[in-house]
Structures are given as C-alpha cells and as structure tokens.
Symmetry: C2
DNA sequence: CCTCAATGTAGACAGCGGAAACAATGTTGT
DNA sequence: ACAACATTGTTTCCGCTGTCTACATTGAGG
C-alpha cells in the first residue's frame, strides 16, 4: 500500500480511487456502508450479498472473506446500529438541560427519532437471532442503554423518582417508547403522532413513578 | 393421522383425509396451518413455499393458486394472527373481574403472553410491509385493539382514568407492553421478567393516568 | 352431458447463498 | 532482496428458491 494511495490511506479516510486494482482495500466497510443504504431504501429482506458486491464492483464471492454468511453481515449492521444509537443518546444527554424531566424527555425523544429515522435498522437490531455474533450485539445494546439507566439512578438520587431497581423502572419507559416507534414504523399509527405520544409517555412515566408524598 | 376426522369435519374444521386425489380440497387452510407451524419452529425467514408444498404433498406451484406470492402468505398469517389476538383479548376481558385495574391487568397480561408465546408471528404482524393486502391487516389490527380502547373509555367513565383521547392514553399502555415483549422476544431481557415488568407497567400506568384530585 | 372455471402439475428460468479451487497481492522473516 | 506465507479477490459450480407459462384433472352449472 506504499505506492500511490499512501496519502489518503494515512488520513484513515476511504481511498475511493476509481481505478481499483485486485484488492479493494476497504471492502468490509464499503460493504457495511452499501448495506446500510440498501437497508434504509429497500429493507433487510431485499438485502442481497450479490447486489452489494455488484454495486461495489467486486466479485460476488468477495464479501465472504469479510462476513461468514449473510446473517453475519446483518449482525454487524445491528451492532453498529446500537453503537450509533449509544452515540445519539449520549450527545442528546450532553446537550440536555439540567433538570431531570427535561433530561428524560430529551433522551427519550432522541431515541424515538433515531428509531423512526432508521426503521429497518431498528427492526434488525431487535430481531437479532441468537447466533455466535449475538454476544457482541447484546454488549452494544447494553452500552446504548447504560446512559439511560444512569439517568434513572440520578433521578432517584434527586428524589424525582421512587426507589427500586433502576433497570426495572427504566426498562418500562424505554419499552414504551420502543413500542410507540414500532407501531409507527409498522404503519399502525401515524408518524405525526410521534412527539405527542412521546410527551404523553414521559408525562405518564413521571407521574407514575413519582415518590409518594401523601399516601 | 387424526382419528376424529368425521367429527371435526362436521364442525367445519379441516377434513385432513389421508388418501388425497388430484384436488386437495383445503389447500389454502392446510398451507396456513403448516406455515404457522413452520413460523413458530423456524421463523419467517426460513419459511419456504416449496417446503410447505412438499410437507403437504402437493406440487411446488400449487400454493400459487391461493397466494399470489410468498408475501401474500405472510400477510394472511399476519391477518389471522391479529384475529386470534382479538379473540384472546376478548375472552380475557370476558373472564376478568369487574374492577377496572383488574381488567387492565388481565387484558394486558393476556396480550403479553400471546406476544411471547407467538414471537415470530408477532414480528410478522408488526412488520407488515405496506402492500395491497395491508388494509386487511390494518383492519384486523383495529379489531384487536378495539376492546382495549373500550376498556380505557370505561375507566374514564368510572373516574379511574383522567379524561383525554382514549386512543392516545391507551396506546401508550399497549405500546409499553408491546415494547416489553419485543425486548423479551429479542433476548434483550430475560423472559422470566415478563410478569414482573407487566405488573410494573400497569402500576405505573394506573398511577400516571389517575385523575388529579388535589392539583 | 357438456362446457367452463377452479385447482393442481410439470417444466423452465433467473437469482440467490454458499463451497471449493485458483489467482493476485501484501507481509514478514531472513 | 527475496522467498515463503497470509490475506483478499475471482471463477466456477451446486442446490435451493420464487415465479412464470403451458398443460392436466376435476367439479359444478347450463
């Protein structure tokens, strides 16, 4: 690789040179990028390894060097989806105001928009067939939900939430938002209702988990 | 195979006669039955029209007379899934006690168990690609959710729930349960937590949507 | 009884995922 | 510098699938 592509390669960027030679150089990430586009545009069912190979300009068996089979590619997509979701949630929390209810609302809204903006990807992320690759996915999923569990713990520490297992309490909230987005992505309810429903869910959650002052 | 053929046939059930001649007689329902079994055992991805035809003992092109393509069969499965779900919810409500919170808990629990007992089917029901068959699915889905919306309205009438659009208020509850089951079906959380999480969700819902007496 | 629509069959086709053998290119030890 | 070696891409082949078309069998209604 020390002949002509030295400069671009040094920057860590995609070479993307037109006259490609025998070795692509970045086939794995090129496959993932193309797969993510195809996933968004045509859904996971229509995703074909041969299509991706054609689109990239490589032989149909080349992807096999990077993904053992089709499901391995889908697993990798799911994993990267959780990592991107984790980023999204982290930055939403970083930019959110200080008060607890605002942080809950902002993070939950960020999740909801990520889920509806990446409908096919979300479906993939939550239908990970239990495979050898699954542990990596579960780990990435854990990383995505970590900040949210922390948020619940902070709410409890500040007395805004009732005590109890943070995972159990928080899970119900995230399940709610996930369910809402699933129904929207499945065309069961109109997408315009998203923000309204999320607001309702957050309000119900805050009221339903407030510490009891006058029992 | 089955000894009670004549009796069941009288009830409008599947004849299922062994010595089949040129015409099967019930191929459509036989296909749906076999498909539902395959769906439960191997998932929707592994469902093959040719497999079903082989299993039933019919030529590989025969299913085409009853389902325009593979997706049409999946759509039919999704529709019948919603119809069965509607039955399940109706009978759960019929057997439930009179008080509102018990009715909410029982119906929601029935939904949750249906969803986890029919994981692959639920996935199918909620990922109906928008197709010509979709309206039928949406209609069946509406029929399933009808009794639940009614339940919310009754709760409001009895003063157990805050006023407001019943669909919006109830949707949040059902989205919560659906989200919980999705996470369980996707192995994100342990299945043993189902009842506990559902209880938590119902409790949060009832507390979060109670009318405000002392504002 | 005869026609006709419904239903099942047979055969063909292209596309796919996967496996194996082969070729070109980097990499590394000496 | 150069010879093994590992990595990555190619080619070829296989069985399977969904779908299409032409044909066969059957049952129902005039």
């Amino acid at each position: 690789m020390l002949s002509k592509e030295t400069l671009t390669a040094k920057l860590g960027a995609v070479p993307e040179a037109e006259p490609r030679s025998y070795h692509h150089g970045n086939l794995r990430t090129a496959l993932l990028d193309a797969a993510e586009r195809g996933l968004r545009e045509h859904g996971a069912d229509q995703l074909s390894l041969r299509d991706l190979a054609r689109e990239i300009g490589v032989s149909h068996a080349a992807p096999r060097r990077h993904f053992a089979d089709r499901q391995a590619l889908l697993d990798a997509l799911a994993e990267s989806g959780f990592l991107r979701l984790a980023d999204t949630l982290r930055s939403a929390l970083a930019e959110a105001a200080d008060d607890f209810s605002a942080r809950v609302r902002d993070s939950v809204t960020a999740y909801a928009h990520f889920a509806t903006d990446n409908a096919a990807l979300l479906e993939l992320m939550y239908t990970s067939k239990h495979r050898p690759e699954a542990p990596r996915i579960a780990e990435a999923a854990g990383a995505a939900f970590g900040p949210l569990i922390e948020l619940i713990e902070q709410g409890q520490a500040h007395g805004a939430l009732e005590p109890g297992d943070p995972e159990r309490i928080g899970l119900v909230l995230y399940a709610t938002v996930h369910g809402i987005t699933t129904m929207i992505n499945g065309d069961m309810i109109a997408g315009e209702l998203l923000d309204e429903l999320v607001e309702t869910a957050v309000a119900q959650f805050l009221r339903g988990t407030r510490p009891l002052r006058n029992p």
